[in-house]
Symmetry: C2
Subunit: 440 residues, 2 copies
């Protein structure tokens, strides 16, 4: 084999153990929370028929699809998100009956221009409830968002909730038509935190064609804050009976009422400026933020999309879901010191010096593992200094030295790298000795 | 969006919840075992520069690579296994110091002709120790194989162990040269369980060019059975001092001696007929079988490959590893009734009838979840019959009915679908009531 320069593809990255260890901890907590809420796991292929993917993500999305011809000359594409595959699955299998709730954690691929924090392969984590038009599903997903954050140790967070129908009501009131015109205004609103009010006002006038008075009305509306049910009482008066705006207000009321019953209060904010970038939302929308990291973007987002899932079935199927930004969330949790980037799963290293004592070392490691203590057995015959340096680099605290002298006495020497203290312990007392110290 | 027929690409498949639930249970047990052995998690991209992949898997492998040009006109390919990416990573990052042990569970893609049980996307699970030439690493991986099976509840299993050097020694003895000739004979030996002795004998004569006497010697050697250390004593006498065969015998002795010290006895078999299909093995090789399913193929396999990992570094780096066939293993565990294919994670369903009682239902679900009982809250306003049918289909046992009558009394009605018994329980006693019944 000829030597090849080892490099990773532009826009892609390796996740080395220091990042993977906290990531696995995080994913474990997420999976357990999904299970507690009765969400079922689903896995779909990375490759799909191209026609399954195209036309679902808009023109830009289509252009970012990784596509090629497979060995059978079929047009295929790499998965772009987890929602379209979910829609295909719901349409394909009669054994899936509605309502259906599933989670999926999997990489997706988009040929974006790489930028800081933007990659061409990233892991999505989605939870969705498909087949229910009712607001208790939306409240359930909002509650799931809160419980996911709590399961990750986040105490201070905010879920900002809005409803697309309310924004549509606002659009009708200021004379913006359904469809492209409304989508344009919503895109500008969605970008507000990034571009600021002045630039947003300019865009609303110049790009979206709004007059000065409608622009003022938009900003007044987006700035409304207060106790959600009280604000919603007032907002209701802004929309006519039977209008889409009023429908949105009553949906929001229902979501906040159910949430209040499960003890969600201050964590939930009514925020009319939440718009979400994607076109397909039709009702409740929300984004979750880490309260102790102001200015840090949303770590989760989602909402109701009643027109999307049905595309493969030829009939509308309502859906509501949540999507976690795995990488952003992980970075945030590390910044909050709720997780630690460290390439270590075992805090104990068992030394090995040579063939004559290798079996004895293996017995020491096995005694610990059988008792539930993770340990690394040094996998080579090496000098003691090298093995201690290995332990230090890995951040291991205890080194169990199994030399010929120790073997002769049926003992081991346990060195605590933090205190520098070393004690001789009988082999059959090793588990109890370390169980007391290592902890769970 | 125009309607598209929902279908999955030829050779690919969806993993629906009934398969995913036991699969997640299995993967959880596997991950915990890797951690107990100090293996670190690693994740690499699905796409690699094509030159990273080509030339590593032989001509057939190269032809099965999914390859295309990306948006930047780079030649790229989908990952074909997890070993080549590991080799690239070890060569690329100075923070990875040897010896290094990692696990990775990820899909790989091969454009094989689909056949029963053979797919173009399948999940590999690899654990490897890189950077050690010593036999305690091999013994550690054999022990890991045993502990993985035990963690999955398998009580009866066999790990059949051999060493490529022993087979090379046999080849030298019967006059088969290193390289292509030896590889050809080993392929025939590897296929023995599939093709039988008669066909293998024919191939050894006609394809591999062996005479009748060497063929007899091969079969005699492969048939050697017995207590490993006793057999290895005898086998040693077959090879000259300093020969490759003798080196293989002494390596095997060391692996069996260390394994005996950690209590592995009857599970480990010395089996000279284990050859492993891949070219790159250079020492210890082994395959693991489920003892209660005779005739079922190997569920794990692996060995030592001292020439493979160094390809990106320009210097040899020894390695030894294990690879689990996730799908085969899952099927085997289901057949042994150690896992159950069922689309259920929550055994409790909480009903919801309408907006007036939705908040009350949410409170009941939350009380259970807060107490660690997984439950599904019906995510839509529906008639009671529909919700009971949903619970029955999902295999849920308890239905918590939260109607207006129950709400008025601050209670719920809990129906046990197995016994048919229904009891009224105060809402604040629900958790204790079900905790007693549902179990962990």
């Amino acid at each position: 084999m000829s030597k090849v320069e080892p490099r990773v593809l532009k826009g892609f990255r390796d996740h080395l153990p220091a990042k993977m260890v906290p990531r696995q901890q995080m994913l474990g907590a997420i999976e357990r929370t999904f299970s507690r809420f009765g969400f079922l796991p689903l896995m779909t292929p990375a490759l799909e028929y191209l026609e399954v993917l195209t036309g679902k993500y808009g023109e830009e999305g289509d252009s970012l699809l990784y596509r090629f011809k497979d060995h059978g000359d079929r047009d295929v594409g790499l998965r772009y998100d987890l929602t379209v595959p979910l829609a295909r699955v719901v349409a394909m299998y009669p054994e899936i009956t509605l309502p259906f709730r599933r989670w999926q954690i999997a990489p997706v691929w988009r040929a974006e221009n790489p930028a800081r924090g933007r990659f061409r392969e990233f892991v999505q984590c989605d939870g969705d409830i498909v087949g229910s038009p009712d607001m208790n599903a939306d409240a359930e997903v909002v509650q799931l968002a809160c419980e996911l954050l709590r399961a990750l140790g986040v105490e201070r967070f905010a879920v900002r909730i809005n409803n697309r129908k309310v924004l549509s009501g606002l659009m009708r009131r200021i004379g913006v038509a359904e469809g492209a015109a409304e989508a344009g205004v919503l895109r500008t609103i969605d970008n507000l935190p990034k571009i600021g009010e002045d630039e947003a006002a300019r865009l609303l006038r110049e790009e979206n064609g709004l007059g000065a008075e409608p622009v003022r009305q938009v900003f007044d509306f987006l700035a409304i804050r207060g106790e959600p049910l009280e604000v919603l009482g007032r907002a209701g008066s802004l929309f006519e009976d039977g209008s889409i705006g009023q429908k949105g207000v009553s949906e929001l009321k229902e979501v906040f009422e159910i949430s209040a019953a499960v003890g969600l209060g201050g964590e939930l904010e009514l925020d009319f400026s939440i718009a979400r970038g994607l076109n397909y939302y039709t009702g409740t929308i929300y984004e979750a933020f880490l309260g102790s990291l102001p200015g840090y973007g949303a770590v989760m987002g989602g909402g109701r999309y009643d027109g999307l899932i049905g595309v493969f079935k030829g009939q509308e199927i309502p859906g509501v879901g949540i999507s976690l930004g795995i990488d952003r969330l992980l970075e945030g949790l590390v910044e909050l010191k709720l997780l630690e980037e460290r390439a270590r799963v075992a805090r104990v290293l068992v030394t090995v010096f040579g063939p004559a004592t290798a079996a004895y070392s293996a017995r020491a490691a096995q005694a610990l593992r059988a008792g539930g203590i993770a340990c690394e057995l040094f996998p080579a015959y090496a000098k003691v200094g090298k093995q201690f340096r290995h332990a230090e680099r890995a951040g291991q605290r205890w080194v169990v030295v199994c030399g010929a002298d120790e073997q002769a006495k049926g003992a081991v020497a346990v060195k605590d790298l933090e205190t520098g203290k070393q004690e001789e312990v009988a082999l059959d007392a090793l588990l109890a000795y370390l169980a007391e110290r290592v902890g769970p």
